[in-house]
């Protein structure tokens, strides 16, 4: 049976097998359809159009006539007829090019004391969404080159919880491990070697840093226990050799993970803590890593508390009608006032296809300032209509940011009130997590002396706008410090100074890890933080006095 799959004017024929989803067929044809929920039919990221043919969609059989098109979820559709035709809209395909990934890192002062005095090492930050690798010359201590790619596991599922669910099945665990090693890390190593003229046989050591679930999958260990109470990981530390994991370097090269703190506070945070020298800061210091899970650590007088918040991937564009990852064709900044003349910047290309997390923060902050968006995240519909920016999408009010002519998709790019609600929930989870963490130390946000922001996202957000929407505390921009990719720096340090290995092990016992919703305050803080900027007005004195 031949199924013709069309994308951007190209057609590829693939053989349809019994019970293979259209999602699988499209991937075989070479197009990476987005499946944010892991192909379980919960989201609409894998929308495709069916042409003539006979199909089963969920449990229902349907017939599409030659002149018809029918929109369905690729993951829930099976081709039943001998021949069929499928059209993939651009919005359903993951742009694998032009990803904006924060690979900048600051390695703090250290002694050069590597475990191997010769050859090369590779430091790797294994993020849920992106993987960054740095080639380190072990004899000189210099970082020679850096490369980054999307973690190819995003082809299977977007967020950590979906990936844990997939690992219920050992075959899927194996597939996810292959996606991160064979299809992500090995190509990165290839690029690093080719770009620097390094022989991969000279690579004798790898240090990897990432969240606990990513480390389990990387080393081929099921993370399922992290998904259920009491969220216990199989191990906090991992070590192996290249040949055992299928990593394309010297076969007996040593691979070690930066040790994790708990199931949801991973080695990436251990790295951040070490790199930012958190426990030696004066006063009350908070480290926040805003990723798919917002992890944070508060430190005061040598005492540390840590937590992970279920912010979810909304800041990476998931769950938003025209959300996009921070890659080519994504709007990344927005500025406007009450005239609703939107000033946009787009990554890489002139015409956008959606907006990424930094842009939606800008959009909501500007909207709140100029009165377009009220404290509950609702539009002034009259204002939208007066400026010809109003559209109704599935019964929801939406603001048109980009008209059909300026958009890469040929459709308007809009922000719905539902999109705003999604961001409000995500930002509330982070802010309430922070407040709860401080409450455990007997502190309040106003007592914070310094906030250290780690991770790629923090590098690209407009801090003032993040404060305006109540994502981050209103304590004065001068108290914020952005450290870039601390996870990568931590992995690099593990290569450069073998003493850090012990230092990491000393760190992981220090933080008291808090399960947020088992505290007395979290639910209340969360509800308060759902408004713009917050229902607890005393937390945002500067934002509200200007409003």
């Amino acid at each position: 049976m031949a199924v013709i799959i069309n994308f951007e004017g190209r057609s590829v024929a693939v053989e349809s097998g019994s019970d293979r989803s259209v999602l699988d067929l499209a991937r075989e044809a070479g197009w990476h359809i987005d499946a944010k929920c892991g192909g379980k039919g919960f989201c609409a990221s894998c929308n495709v159009l069916l042409g003539a043919g006979h199909y089963r969609v969920f449990a229902e059989e349907i017939e599409v006539l030659p002149e018809q098109r029918r929109e369905v979820l690729a993951c829930q559709t099976v081709v039943l007829s001998e021949t069929a035709e499928i059209f993939i809209p651009r919005s359903s395909v993951i742009a694998l090019d032009g990803a904006r990934i924060a690979d900048e890192m600051e390695i703090p002062e250290h002694t050069l004391n590597p475990r191997f005095g010769e050859g090369f090492g590779i430091a790797v930050d294994v993020g849920t969404t992106t993987v960054v690798a740095a080639l380190v010359d072990l004899s000189t201590g210099k970082v020679v080159s850096r490369e980054s790619l999307y973690n190819q596991q995003i082809l299977k599922a977007d967020d950590v919880v979906s990936r844990i669910s997939l690992c219920d099945d050992d075959a899927n665990l194996k597939i996810l491990q292959e996606l991160v090693i064979e299809h992500t890390l090995n190509p990165l190593i290839q690029k690093l070697c080719a770009g620097t003229g390094t022989d991969k046989e000279q690579i004798v050591q790898l240090a990897v840093s990432g969240n606990t679930v990513m480390m389990h999958i990387f080393f081929g260990v099921s993370p399922v226990s992290i998904g259920v109470i009491p969220f216990k990981p199989v191990s906090l530390t991992f070590e192996s050799i290249a040949v055992a994991l299928g990593i394309d370097v010297k076969p007996d090269a040593v691979i070690a993970a930066v040790p994790a703190i708990s199931g949801y506070v991973g080695g990436d945070i251990t790295s951040d803590i070490f790199v930012s020298n958190l426990w030696n800061q004066n006063g009350l210091t908070v480290l926040i890593d805003i990723g798919t899970n917002g992890e944070m650590v508060a430190c005061h007088a040598g005492q540390m508390t840590a937590c992970a918040t279920a912010a979810g991937p909304a800041f990476e564009g998931a769950g938003l009608l025209h959300g996009a990852r921070a890659a080519s064709r994504a709007i990344d900044t927005i500025n406007y006032d009450e005239t609703l003349q939107f000033e946009l910047t787009v990554i890489g290309e002139p015409y956008p296809m959606g907006l990424c997390g930094s842009a939606i923060i800008d959009f909501i902050a500007c909207g709140f300032r100029c009165g377009l968006i009220n404290a509950y995240g609702r539009y002034d519909v009259e204002m939208l209509k007066a400026q010809d920016c109003h559209e109704t999408v599935c019964g929801m009010h939406a603001c048109i940011l980009v008209d059909t002519e300026q958009s890469a998709t040929g459709e308007t790019i809009t922000v719905t009130e539902h999109d705003i609600a999604e961001i409000l929930k995500a930002k509330a989870a982070i802010y309430a997590g922070l407040k709860t963490l401080l409450a455990e130390l007997g502190k309040t946000v106003q007592e914070i002396d310094c906030i250290i922001l780690a991770g790629g996202f923090a590098k690209h957000i407009n801090l003032e706008n993040a404060v305006t929407i109540g994502l981050l505390p209103d304590i004065g921009i001068e108290k914020y410090k952005v450290i870039g990719n601390g996870s990568l720096a931590g992995a690099a340090l593990a290569l450069l100074d073998q003493g850090t290995g012990q230092a990491y092990l000393d760190i992981i016992d220090k933080p008291k890890v808090i399960t947020l919703n088992q505290t007395a305050h979290f639910t209340n803080y969360f509800q308060e933080a759902l408004a713009l900027p917050n229902l607890d007005e005393s937390d945002f004195p500067n934002i509200l006095s200007n409003h």
Binding site: K40, I229, H418, N517, A531
Partner: protein, 208 residues
């Protein structure tokens, strides 16, 4: 007393201090406490639930309104009990064993309270016995929540464990579908907080 418009609006807008002030004022004036609840507050939560179903309100607003409603209930509850006011019914709700997610569960609990039910919140990580205990102490319906595909299968054990108890079992949560609910023999299913209230009323044979 007809509807107190100021109170109705204050609940819908989630203005907690206003709700507290107005409810206290009415109580001080000697207004019938059941009327304050039935004529103004429950209709307000019903209204926001309907707006939610029509895509005219979203989860953040609903949670904020529910929080204001709760502030009013904190004042009224002891007075209602003292006045012998009967709740619409008695229900229990909890997130199933192994699962700690509770934002959705809390929202459903608040919407049920907002509809006039007495709600026993069993919390998270609840095993069969917790639900059985709730039924033994008078719950006419139990509502189960799960957010993970790994914890959802436990719902089947609870449905079976409660067979013959007379209590209705309703289920919901991100991975839960109508088909799954029918398959395990649950009495009801809902995919959002407003529908959960309607499904609970339907399962208990109460007017919508």
């Amino acid at each position: 007393m007809a509807r107190n418009e100021a109170l109705f609006e204050a609940v819908i807008k989630g203005k907690r201090p206003d709700v507290t002030a107005i409810v206290q004022q009415e109580v001080d004036k000697g207004t019938n406490v059941a009327e304050i609840l039935m004529e103004s507050m429950i209709p307000a939560m019903a209204e926001i639930g309907e707006r939610f179903s029509r895509n005219e309100a979203y989860v953040p607003e609903m949670l904020i309104a529910a929080r204001a409603m709760q502030a009013g209930l904190d004042i009224l509850d002891p007075l209602l009990a003292a006045a012998g006011h009967e709740p619409l019914g008695k229900v229990a709700i909890g997130t199933v064993k192994g699962d700690l997610h509770d934002i959705g569960k809390n929202l459903v609990a608040m919407m049920l309270k907002g509809a006039g039910f007495e709600v026993m919140d069993l919390g998270v990580d609840c095993d069969v016995d917790k639900y059985k205990d709730a039924v033994a102490s008078g719950a006419q319906a139990v509502l189960l929540s799960a957010l993970l595909t790994t914890t959802m299968p436990y719902m089947k054990e609870i449905v079976e464990g409660l067979k013959g108890s007379g209590a209705k079992v309703l289920i919901g949560g991100a991975p839960v579908t109508k088909e799954y609910a029918d398959g395990i023999g649950a009495d009801g299913y809902a995919d959002d907080a407003n529908t959960a209230v309607k499904a609970t009323k339907a399962a208990l044979g109460l007017a919508a």
